[in-house]
Subunit: 343 residues, 2 copies
DNA sequence: CATGCTTCTGTGAGCGTTCACAGTAGAGAA
DNA sequence: TTCTCTACTGTGAACGCTCACAGAAGCATG
């Protein structure tokens, strides 16, 4: 009966088959496929029914060969991969980008640049024009891949403000500084006056900005900044724990801690618990990221949510615009304070 | 100075440029590119230096146009996406597949079939031959996308035993039954005799197999199976909690619980704690998956680790073999018992 | 009636590669 | 020498599409 369903794949219909079926020329079919300008309604109709009837799908390879576009974009992760792949926000980002691109019928190629070998291969792949643009996840300062892509003129949109790439590269980021400001203001509003901070790594824009927000709000409140209340971490849980211990040793009267990531905040909670401080009664704790760690913690963490769904949508929007010839752009999106038990 | 670095992308060199540079014909360059058979060492050498000198990278579109292959594969997720995207094992799988493919210079296209619209688009994209094969993640029984792809003769490898797809589709899975057997044997070895089980959904192979392993071991030990000790869940944390409560009500003398997922096991721990049972003193608890939930739990969960890194590698291996013309194959990989505090 | 303009349509060329085929050169055998 | 065989090389055609161009048809304007 249905021989078509058994065994190998059949040769798909070409634009030629559609043209014959519709009684028009290749050119007309092509025009219908690409926007339908300069096509009579009758011809367009005939072509569309022929497309449905034959089950025609454009051969992207043939199209790309002549247009020079690939109609696909790469999602490049040059971050040490373990860290980001375990971050649920990364999942949201990846999923969001894939879906936003799918709406434009653009496939997403996942590229992981872990080893130097992979880095080389991917760079060559991209610069050879096999993708039209790249969505970049990399907080690596002075990332050689990113630099090379930028130099080659590949449309590029980074997630988060990239370091050392000049102003020529687009990026989409959450407003770290403003998020930090919100949190510190929140702690002040609760009546806390000895507010400590466990920063992120200060060689990343995120780390710097979040600390800057902390300083700004305290200054604006007319408070003098006590450098003993500032300790730095590296976003890891362990560094949060160590940071809190240093903080307690240096300033035992601390009554609130703004922690630059939820994971570190978990460590801070552990250290505070061990030191016999009650949260939030003795010390209020604010995190950053609104990761699952925030709700898994006890008490559940008050934190700053980054709009990851909007970030992915904006990254795709900016990238497509740039592929379309527009200039690089920076987009900063607002964060949101999520109040829970820890403050 | 370096005009090449400013502005747009330059036109990349073609096989023609390489041929001219090397003083040979297109055909010879092509032969070097594809295995180098029937090429004199001198010519091969000349071509290779010309490739390096010109920075030539093959134009995959042109190649695909004539070979009919795309030299790319799709990673298709038809699962309700939230669930899998939050599963860290999914990350390991996705990363593993990407890297295994990268070793063969094959890009991975991420495809998420959430809505019906996406489903249609993706099906058409794949059956049109835009990917050579598909890595499928779907526990959805009777998945229409998978069925359509199978019918169209698209090489397909599923992660986990697929339901209702006949025997014609390859899959790679962990040995659920054997994993369950290991865990129950472990509980028996600890001297437990009233071993309950919270199963996974029994319309999935995983759920069925894990329960089967439980039954087998108890039967082999000459014990009679008490159906009151068997309650079913749906892998969610909440269902674990509810399951444990039912178990305690029906068989208060239970001294161990084998739970078919770590997430459910967390729920079980919560319920046991609330009921005043100590773990593992009063009741030993064994999970399944070795997800981060296992170490996040207190006490840390004894669990069954699925070899996700090997699963991804095998999926890619089987898919490439199938693309190469081999018959579909099923691969079952062994699991590993990870002992922690809960038993 | 010619002229121009707009809207529409068909045609040939070409994108960069692989593949089949025809050919060349050199070695060894008759 | 001549033939055959092997190892290698070059060439034209094709893959399926888009693009530029030429031309046709319709309509208003001079």
């Amino acid at each position: 009966m249905t021989m078509s369903n058994t065994g190998g794949r059949r040769k798909p219909p070409t634009i030629h088959d559609v043209a014959r079926e519709a009684g028009v020329s290749r050119g007309t079919v092509s025009r219908v496929l690409n926007g339908g300008h300069y096509v009579s309604p009758a011809a367009a109709e005939a072509v569309n029914t022929a497309i449905r009837k034959t089950g025609y799908v454009v051969n992207r390879h043939a199209r790309s060969l002549i247009t020079g576009r690939s109609d696909s974009v790469g999602f490049l992760l040059t971050e040490p991969q373990e860290r980001f792949f375990e971050d649920p926000n990364f999942n949201v980002l990846l999923r969001g980008c894939t879906q936003a691109l799918a709406a434009h019928d653009i496939p997403l190629l996942l590229m992981l640049a872990g080893t130097d070998d992979e880095r080389r291969r991917i760079t060559r792949y991209i610069t050879a024009g096999h993708v039209d643009g790249v969505l970049l996840v990399s907080s690596h300062s002075g990332d050689p891949v990113a630099e090379e892509l930028r130099a080659a003129g590949v449309p590029l949109v980074a997630c988060g403000k990239p370091i050392g790439l000049g102003s020529k590269v687009s990026y989409v980021a959450a407003d770290d500084r403003d998020g930090a400001r919100d949190m510190v203001r929140h702690l002040l509003a609760l009546g806390r006056r000895r507010i400590g901070v466990v920063t992120g790594p200060l060689d990343t824009p995120g780390g710097v900005e979040r600390l800057a927000g902390y300083r700004e709000v305290l200054s604006e409140a007319g408070m003098e900044i006590d450098e003993r209340l500032i300790v730095s971490g590296d976003y890891s849980r362990a560094s949060g724990e160590a940071g809190a211990e240093r903080l307690l040793a240096r300033a035992p009267d601390v009554d609130a801690v703004f922690v630059a990531s939820d994971l570190m905040a978990q460590g801070v909670l552990t250290a505070l618990h061990r030191a016999g401080r009650r949260v939030p009664d003795d010390v209020a704790v604010g995190g950053f990221d609104d990761s699952p760690a925030a709700v898994a913690a006890s008490p559940e963490l008050t934190t700053i949510r980054q709009p990851w769904d909007r970030i992915s949508a904006e990254m795709v929007r900016v990238l497509l615009a740039q592929i379309g010839g527009e200039d690089p752009a920076a987009v900063i999106l607002p964060t949101e304070l999520v109040k829970r038990e820890s403050t």
